[in-house]
């Protein structure tokens, strides 16, 4: 089977800081990947590169077998990569269906003159997708600010699924949720993967990640230090890899710093050459 997403040698620097350093990762259809690491390990930067928020300084991304250059978040959305951030990126003053259709509103002709919002259509379509994912919210006409954290999460996920996300990235999906709601969200992740949509989850809650992820990728100081099949590892091992008390699979992080800096420079110049061509 071919990976749906493959990132190769991704490097992202901010001034003197190398946030992501020569990172490789593959995600296959239906897989749930737990992306783990301490604060500042580079997880968020990596997913922002994949979702088009940042441009990598070096490296390539393959999506559905083809090399892609993801220019901006909208481009990522268009090709089917959806990212759910910690703050969920919902407009709290708008209602549920308005958020599901935000930026992609369904319009209808008014008096043959001007395009107006088609509220009925958006309401019905939103109902359908919530039903499909077995999500319950009090009313789709309620403002997001009246919903609980779990309901908001569910709305955000419904939005991605409605827009045919082929690939979902979730940043701390269960943070700030009650226990029952955490379970709902994790069940939702399982539903997604059973429908063939792979998910990358970033979370500090190892328990959650272990309960849904099929594969774990561990980062430290911007580098990938290990990759494990969830059922073949233990939380102890993973914690050791995260904090650095266990050595990674690819040599010690500090040793590689010099070498990758050089690689970064070379690929950096290649990158400039490509931009020149465009």
């Amino acid at each position: 089977m071919e990976p749906l997403l493959e990132v190769k040698n991704i490097t992202k620097r901010f001034g003197g800081l190398t946030a992501v350093d020569n990172m490789d990762m593959e995600v296959f259809p239906g897989e749930v990947v737990g992306l783990l690491g301490d604060n500042g390990a580079g997880k968020s930067t990596l997913i922002k590169v994949i979702s088009g928020v940042y441009h990598a300084d070096a490296g390539t991304i393959f999506f559905e077998g083809k090399e892609v250059r993801i220019d901006n978040p909208m481009h990522a959305l268009r090709i089917g990569i959806e990212t759910l951030y910690q703050d969920l990126a919902l407009a709290e003053n708008l209602n549920v269906y308005a958020n599901i259709f935000l930026g992609r509103e369904k319009l209808k002709r008014f008096l043959g003159l001007i395009n107006v919002l088609d509220h009925d259509y958006m309401l019905n379509e939103s109902k359908k997708v919530l039903d499909r994912l077995e999500i319950e919210v009090p009313s789709l006409k309620n403002q997001i600010r009246t919903l609980s954290g779990g309901q908001r999460q569910a709305v955000a996920i419904s939005r991605s699924i409605y827009w045919n996300a082929k690939f979902l990235i979730m940043d701390e999906p269960t943070a700030a949720l009650g226990v029952a709601e955490q379970k709902n969200v994790l069940d939702l992740v399982k539903t997604l993967s059973s429908q063939g949509v792979p998910v990358i989850i970033i979370s500090h809650q190892l328990h959650d990640v272990f309960s849904v992820a099929t594969k774990l990728v561990i980062m430290r100081r911007g580098k990938k230090v290990a990759e494990r099949i969830t059922k073949d590892t233990t939380t102890d091992e993973i914690v050791g890899l995260i904090v650095g008390s266990l050595p990674g699979d690819y040599g010690d992080v500090n040793d590689g710093a010099k070498e990758t800096a050089q690689v970064g420079k070379e690929t950096g110049s290649v990158d400039e050459g490509q931009e020149g061509k465009q």
């Binding site: 990212t83 990126a89 709290e92 708008l94 935000l102 930026g103 509103e105 319009l107 008014f110 006409k141």
Partner: protein, 355 residues
Amino acid sequence: MMNNKNFSKILVHIAARWTLIFLALEVIFFSVFGTNYFSLRNLQNILLASTTVALLATGETFVIITGGIDLSVGFMVGFSGVICAKVMVTLQAAGASQAVAISSGILAALLLGLVPGLVNGLLVAKLRVPPFIATFGMLGIAYGFAEIISNNVPIMGLPTSVGSIGHGYLIYWLPGKIFAFLQKPENLTRLELQNLVSIIPNVTVITAIVIGIFAFILARTKFGQHTYAIGGSMDAAERAGINVKRHLIKVYMISSFFASLAGVTYVLRFITGRAPAGSARLLDAVVAVVIGGASLYGGTGTILGTVIGVLIIGALEIGLVNLAIPTYNLYIAVGCILIFAVLVDQFFPELVRKE
């Protein structure tokens, strides 16, 4: 017997419509204590007196919903008014017909009036200057240019038709005899003139149409929806693929368009262009928007609410005149209302933010 929960629900409903109730009480109060307050002529006076505030406040509503503020609109009225008058006077002196001079003046004012909005928008959206600062700076710049263009004196000697537009009415009705649109009947006896009923000032017609169009845009279109979304969460809007920067620029241009239109209507009504025209109306406009239910934190507000806010101020202003109370009391009243409305927003957000 009503239970407590229902009762508090009803209270919330009433509180959410406090502006309408306040307006009604105001009109009743002045009708009782004033002279001829509740008459067609006087109610039309309220509408006329509210023209500038209504236009400024409508544009300001868009800006405030995005979470910004446009302070430049006060002096923008003078800026565009002076341009409008200057072009008319200059063209007339060059021998152009009244129609050409007047339409060119209006067009020039509306077009050039977009420039300060564009600059405001660029500063706020692209260079991330706080809206308060960017538009405050523009306030001074617009005023300075207005004084330069007008050479520090009101521009007089406008084409005579300006007055007949600005002082004209949509309908003229002489009971039993004449029913005319736009054109004031000629050759009337003095008695007939006294009995002639003029209905809806032209300026109010223009104002209402333009405000109606933008109320529709805000309430029903994608543009309106995105305006709310930006005010609710700029991040969410951006991540949903909305071009937030471009949208903000458009919103500030809408605001300055309305300010320019207010300048044009000022010229039509007063047949002169003055640099400081409308500057005192900035406060009223912001107050009207806030009374109307918009939060200065962004994300809420409607044009209908704003219009009610405008009418509250207009009815109060005319009412004070009617009772021969000096109008500077209006500033005090309006300032108090603003602070009160913002306090309500801050401490009882659920009253204002209900959909």
